[in-house]
Symmetry: C2
Subunit: 86 residues, 2 copies
């Protein structure tokens, strides 16, 4: 999988998820730093219909396995740190 | 919603998602800092069957609306920062 190619392909994801994986709209999840296993599983579920969402089902339909691998690699390559509330 | 109560209720989530929302297993998503809107929507989808997962469907079945609101409030209260690869 090619994370750099994924970053380019992520232009279509950026509207809701951001290129940095930090969601721009409240109904979309942050996907920064998710594992590629999780991201690929969800994209394939949207593509196959195992998981449904009015936007993701449409977007995923045209994604090839290579697109999915590259997109997952890009978002998985983003590091994140958490801070718990006191 | 009560984030502190959610932190206590999150003990059952911690095995896979961590109390800090950083996934401990590769098939589980990180949920740190996800919006409560997204988290509540997904937990209710697992509870209603709109979304299915062998573990989450079972866990969500026993969650009340209050549990869901508190759990979502806890994980949404966690801050995170991202770092993009060069």
């Amino acid at each position: 999988a090619d994370a750099a190619a994924g970053k380019v392909k992520a232009k279509q994801c950026a509207v809701c998820h951001g290129i940095d994986g930090v969601a721009r709209i409240p109904i979309a999840p942050h996907i920064a730093g998710e594992t590629s296993v999780y991201l690929e599983t969800q994209l394939k579920a949207f593509r196959s219909g195992k998981r449904e969402h009015e936007i993701m089902s449409v977007i995923a339909k045209d994604l090839s396995d290579e697109d999915i691998a590259d997109l997952a690699a890009w978002y998985a390559s983003i590091k994140f740190e958490v801070t718990l509330p006191e």
